[in-house]
Symmetry: C5
Subunit: 313 residues, 5 copies
Amino acid sequence: MIVRERPSGIRLFFAMRGSILGQIKWTLAANVALALLVTLSHGRLFEYKLQVSALPFSLIGLPLAIFLGFRNNACYDRYWEARKLWGDILLRGRSLARQVLTLIDAPTDATAEAALDERRRMVRRMAAFAHALKHQLRGTPDVDGQVARWLDRGEGDALASVSNKPAGLMLRMAQDLASCRRQGRVDSMLAASIDATLSGLTAAAASCERIKNSPLPFPYTLLLHRTAHLYCFLLPFGLVDSMGALTPVVVAIVAYTFFGLDAVGDEIEEPFGLRANDLPLDAICRTLEIDLLQSLGETDVPPPLEPVDCCLM
Amino acid sequence: MIVRERPSGIRLFFAMRGSILGQIKWTLAANVALALLVTLSHGRLFEYKLQVSALPFSLIGLPLAIFLGFRNNACYDRYWEARKLWGDILLRGRSLARQVLTLIDAPTDATAEAALDERRRMVRRMAAFAHALKHQLRGTPDVDGQVARWLDRGEGDALASVSNKPAGLMLRMAQDLASCRRQGRVDSMLAASIDATLSGLTAAAASCERIKNSPLPFPYTLLLHRTAHLYCFLLPFGLVDSMGALTPVVVAIVAYTFFGLDAVGDEIEEPFGLRANDLPLDAICRTLEIDLLQSLGETDVPPPLEPVDCCLM
Amino acid sequence: MIVRERPSGIRLFFAMRGSILGQIKWTLAANVALALLVTLSHGRLFEYKLQVSALPFSLIGLPLAIFLGFRNNACYDRYWEARKLWGDILLRGRSLARQVLTLIDAPTDATAEAALDERRRMVRRMAAFAHALKHQLRGTPDVDGQVARWLDRGEGDALASVSNKPAGLMLRMAQDLASCRRQGRVDSMLAASIDATLSGLTAAAASCERIKNSPLPFPYTLLLHRTAHLYCFLLPFGLVDSMGALTPVVVAIVAYTFFGLDAVGDEIEEPFGLRANDLPLDAICRTLEIDLLQSLGETDVPPPLEPVDCCLM
Amino acid sequence: MIVRERPSGIRLFFAMRGSILGQIKWTLAANVALALLVTLSHGRLFEYKLQVSALPFSLIGLPLAIFLGFRNNACYDRYWEARKLWGDILLRGRSLARQVLTLIDAPTDATAEAALDERRRMVRRMAAFAHALKHQLRGTPDVDGQVARWLDRGEGDALASVSNKPAGLMLRMAQDLASCRRQGRVDSMLAASIDATLSGLTAAAASCERIKNSPLPFPYTLLLHRTAHLYCFLLPFGLVDSMGALTPVVVAIVAYTFFGLDAVGDEIEEPFGLRANDLPLDAICRTLEIDLLQSLGETDVPPPLEPVDCCLM
Amino acid sequence: MIVRERPSGIRLFFAMRGSILGQIKWTLAANVALALLVTLSHGRLFEYKLQVSALPFSLIGLPLAIFLGFRNNACYDRYWEARKLWGDILLRGRSLARQVLTLIDAPTDATAEAALDERRRMVRRMAAFAHALKHQLRGTPDVDGQVARWLDRGEGDALASVSNKPAGLMLRMAQDLASCRRQGRVDSMLAASIDATLSGLTAAAASCERIKNSPLPFPYTLLLHRTAHLYCFLLPFGLVDSMGALTPVVVAIVAYTFFGLDAVGDEIEEPFGLRANDLPLDAICRTLEIDLLQSLGETDVPPPLEPVDCCLM
C-alpha cells in the first residue's frame, strides 16, 4: 500500500512513486509513437488517407464507459472487501485473546507447567494463523519461519504436512477448546461464544480464498482491454485533422488516463499480491502480533512496520 | 470459469479461449455483412437513399447505456452472490466438520463399530450434500454416483426417491444430531451451535435455488436485446456518409463490444450452468472433499481439480 | 413471472408474450401519430414552424438519464428484496419444520391423539401462514380456503376475525411453543432457537408489508413521467428537419424503449401483484406445501405449479 | 407520504397534489422571467451581446450529472434506511409483545392485581416508546399525551424530566425484565432473547437519531445548488440564438426537472419531518398500537389512519 | 460537521461558511489567471496559436466522469460508514450500561464500598473508551485528561503505558466481567450477552482504525488529480475561440465545481480529522457521557455541545 502525502501544485505532475506509469509505459510509448507518425504523415497510411471522424469515438465511448465504470467498481469492491476481511481477522484475533484469557479458567493441576497452558498456546497460535493465511494468499513460502516460531515444536512439525495450514490450525484451536471444556475449565455457554469466534475466523479466511480464486469473469477483462486499446490506437486518426500538431499531446493524456485506470484495476483486482498497491499484510500481521503479545502481558514486543520508500508491505 | 493469464500486446487481439466471440459470431457476421452491403451501395436500399444522421444514435444510446449498465451490474451481482454462497457452503462444511468432531462426544457404547459413528457419518454426508446441490442446480443426473459414494448403502437407496435431495440430507443431519443429543453426547447449548450451522447450509442452498429459479424480469432482457440489435443494425446507415470505406470496420468494433457485453451478461446471469464462464462447482466440491477427508484424519485424498484448456469446471 | 427461452434472430422482434408492449400501446400510438403528422406537415403547426434543434434533447436527456437509471435500480432493488424475502420465508419454513420435528419431544401423554400433537399443528400452520401472507400482500380474498385447510377447525374460525392474519398465526405458534416448553418437551435453549426462527418469519412478513406500503416517493414518479412524455412528444419536432421521412420510425424506437423502461419499472415496483412480471407467490407457496408435507412423512403431495402460457403466478 | 394513483394521459400534466411545484415555484418563475427577457432582447444585456454557445452546458453538465446522481442516491438511501428502521421498530415491537406474553410466566403472587403485571406494562410501554421516538425525531412536543396515555401515572410523571425519553423507557423495560428474572418468572436463556429484542429497538432508535443528526456534508449541498442555479440561469443565453421564441418553454422544462429533482432530494434527505413526502410516522405508530392491543386480547382498538387529501402523515 | 440552514436566493452565492472555497482558492485563482491571459492574448502563447477544439474535452471528460463519480461514492461511503460506526459505539455504550446495571447483581459483600462496584466502574470506563478512541483516531494527545477523569486513579496510571488504549480498556472490561462471573453475580448466559456487546465495541473500534489506516489506493488519487488539473488548465485554450470575453467566467465556474468536488472528497475521505466537514466526535462523546451519567442516576450532567460558528466538532 502506498502511504504518502498528496503532492500539490506542479509537483503533482512529477510524482513517480505511487504512480501507475511504470506498468503502462511501453503501451503508452507505442501509442504516442503512433500518434507522432500519424501527425507527421497527416493521417496518411501507405498513401491512403484514413477518414475517421469524431463519431466512432462517441460510439465506442459508450460501452467503454460502461466497462470501465463497472470494472472499476467491481475491482475496488474486491479490494475493500479484502481489507475488511483482514480487519475482521485482526479484531477477531483480539477478541479470541480476550475471550480465551478471561472465559477459560487456569488449569487446576498445579503440576502443569505454564508452557502447557492451552490458553497461552491458543493465543500464540492465533499469530501463526495470520502468518499462515498471509503466505497461502500470497503464494509465498514461509522462509523466515514466521508461522513455526509461534507454535510448539511438535505442532510446527505436524503442520508441515498439512496442505491447508490455516484450516489445520483452526482444527487445533477447536481441539484445545474441547479439551478445556472436558476438563471443566469453561462451561458450554462460554465455549459456544469462543467457538463462534473460531467460526468467524474460518469464514474470513475462506472469503479471502474466494477473492483469490475467483477473478472477474475473463471475457470482461478481454473485452475491456480490446475496446480500450482500439479506442486509444484509433484516436490519432480521429484527432489529426482537427488538432494538428497537438495530436500526440492529447493522445498521451487520454491514453495515460485510460491505460492507467485499467492498470490500477489490474493491481487491486488481486489485492493479496506483493505489488505496491496491494494490501499491507505484513504490517497487519505485525499489528496483531503486538496486540497478542501485550494481551499475554509481555513487554518485549516488536515495533510496528514502517513504510519503506512510501510503500507498506 | 476461465483461468488464464491476461494476454498483452498484439496477442490480446488473437486470444480466442475465453473470448465471447463464439457465442456471437453469427449475429456479428450478419451485422458486418449488412455494413458491407450498405457501404458498397452508398446507403441506398432499393434505389432509395436512407437519410440517417448521427442524432438517432445518441437518442437510442441513452436508454441503451442505462439498460446495459443496469443489466451488467445485476448479472454480475447474481454471479458474485452465487460465488459467495458456494464459498459459504465450503466454509460452513468445514465448520460443521470441526464442530461435529470436537463438540460431540464419542459414542460410549463400546460395541458400536466405527462405521456406525454418527460423527463420521455426518462429515461424509456433508460431501454428499455439496454434490447433490451441484447436480440439482445444474440439472444434471448424478451418473458417476458422486452423491451415493459418501453415504451408507441404506441412506443412498432411501435418498433416490426424494425429490429435493439436499433438503433430505439436511433432515438426516438434524435427525443424527437429535439422536446424539438424546444419547447425552452433546448438550443443548452446543447442539444449538451445530443446528445454526445446519440452518446456514440450508439457507445457502435455498438462496442458490432462488438465483436459479428467478431470472431477471423478462421484459428487461427483451427490451435490451431489441434496442441493442436496432442500434447495431441501423449503424451502417448512419456511418456510411461520414466514414466511407471504414464503415464495416467501425461497425464490427461497435457491434462486437455491444453483442459481447450482452452475451457475457447472458452467461453469468445463470451462474450454475456448464458453460465456460459459469462457476467451477466441480472444483469447489473437490476442495470440500479434500478438507473433509483430512479432518477425518484420512491421508489418501484425491488431488485438486486442474483447469482443462484454461477452463475449470 | 415470465418463464421462457430468449428468442433470437428475427423472432426477437415478434415475441409478444412477456413483452411490455401491451401496457404502453396507446401512448406509443399517440406518439407515433404525432410524428406522422409532424412529418407530413414538415414541422409546421397551424402555419407556424416550430424551430427545435437537437440541443433541448441533450439538455433534457441529462436529468432524464439520472431519473431513469435511479428509478430502474430502485424498482429492481424492491423486486429483488421481495424475492429474497420470500426465499427467506421458504427456507425458514423448512427450518421451522426441521426444528419442530427434531428439537421438540413427542408428547408423553399416551392418550393424546396424533391430531393434537403441537408439532404437527405447527408444521401445518406454517403453510397457512404463507398463504395468509400471500393474500394479504395481494389484497385478494381467500376464496379457495387455502389458509383454513391447513388449520384445525377451531383455529380457522377464530382467525376469521383477526385483521392481521399472519401475525395472528405467529402468535399461535408462540403459544404452542410456550405450551411445549411448560410441558418440558423442549428446553429453554432449544426453544430460543425456534423462537428465533419465528422472529425471522415475522421480520420477513413485516418487510414485505413495508415494500407493499411504501412506494417510491411520488414526486419522483411524477417528475419522471412528465419528463419522459415531454421528451418523446417533442422529439418529432427536433427530428423532422434532419431525418425526414424516417422520423416516425426513429420516434417509434425511442419512445418504445423509454415508455417500455418506464412500464417495466411500474410493474416490478410493486412486486406482489397479479401482473405478468410480478412474483410467482402461488408457485412459492406450493413449493413450501410440498416440502412441509414431505417433512411430515406424507407421500400424497400436490405437484409443483407449472407456468401457464409462459407465465408462472 | 403521498398515496395516490398514478395519473395518466393529459391529466399527468395537471396533477398538483404530490407535485413538487409548490416548493420551487418562485425560483422557477424567476428563471422563466429571465428567459423571456433574454428572448425579447435577443440575448443582449445592456446593449452587450452575451456570446454563449452550447459548449459550457456540456462542460458544466458533467459535474452536475455526477452531483445530481450522487445526491439523489444518497438522499433516497437515507429515506429508505429510515423506512426500514421504522419497519424494524414495528416488527420488533410485535416480537417483544409475543416474547413478553409467551416467555415470561404470569406472576405467582395471587394478590398482584392485573394492573401491576409487568408483562402488560411492558407491552403498553412499547407503544409509548414509538410515540416518544416519533416526537423526538420530529422535534414536536407531545401535546396530545400520546406517550403518557400508555404509561402508569407514576412512570409518566417520572419520564417528564428525562431528556432522552426513548432511552429512558428502554431502561425501564430492562428493569422490569430484570425484576421478572429475579422473581424466577423467566430463565436466563429466554431473558437473553428478550434483551436482544430490547437491544434491537435501542439500535433502531439510535440509527434514526444518526440520520436526523447527520445531514449530507454541507459543501455537497452548496456546490450542487450553485452549479444547478448557474446552469439554469445561464441557459437562456445559450438557447436564444438556436431556439428563438421557444427559449422560455425549453428553459421552463429543463429548470422544472432540475429544480424539482433538487427539491425532492431536500425533502427526503430529512425523512422524519412533517412535509408531504416525509415518512408517515403517525400511521406506523397507529399500526403498532393496534397490533399491541390485539396481542393483549383487547377488542376495542382504534382504526388505522387514512390518508387526508392523498397524504398520510 | 457544518450545521446550518441552506441559504436560498442570491445569498446562496455568497455563503462562505461551509463552502469549500477556502481549500481551493489558490488553484482556482491560478486557473482563472491563466484564462484571463489566454483571453487577452486570444489563445496565442509565445506567438504560437494553440489549436484546441472541443473534442479533447469530451474525450478526457469520459474518464474524468468515471473517476469523479467513483471517488465521490467511495469517499462518501467511508464517511457514512465512519458515522455509522460511531452511532454503533453510542448505542452499544448505552446497551452496555443497561446490561451491566440490570444483568449483573449488586455485590453481596456489604463491606464493599460503592466506589469499588465493578458495575459503576464499567459504565464510567465506557466513557473513557470513547474518548480514548477519539484521540487515537484524530492523533491528538489527551491534554485535558478526558480519558483519565473517568477511570480509577490506578487504572488511569496503568493505561498510560499501553499503546492501544481502547483495546487496553476493553481487556479491563472483560476482566471485570470475568470477576463478576466468578463471584456468581452474573450467570454464564447473561455474561455471554455482555461479552457480545464488548465484542461489538471492539469491532467498531477496529473498523474505525481500518478506515483511518487504509486510504483509497493512491494511484486513483494521483490519476484523478492529474486528469482534473489537465482538464481545467487546458480549458481556456478550448473555449477562447467560441466564448471570447466570457472565457474566464466559464472557466471559473467549471474549475470551481471540479476542484470543489475534489476537495470535498479529500475532506470526507478521512472523516476522523479536525477539519470543518469531519465527524463531530466531541459532540458524540458528550452525548454518550450524558447518557451514561443519567443511567447511573446522576443529575449533574454536562450540557450537549453546541456548534461554534456553524461548526460542530
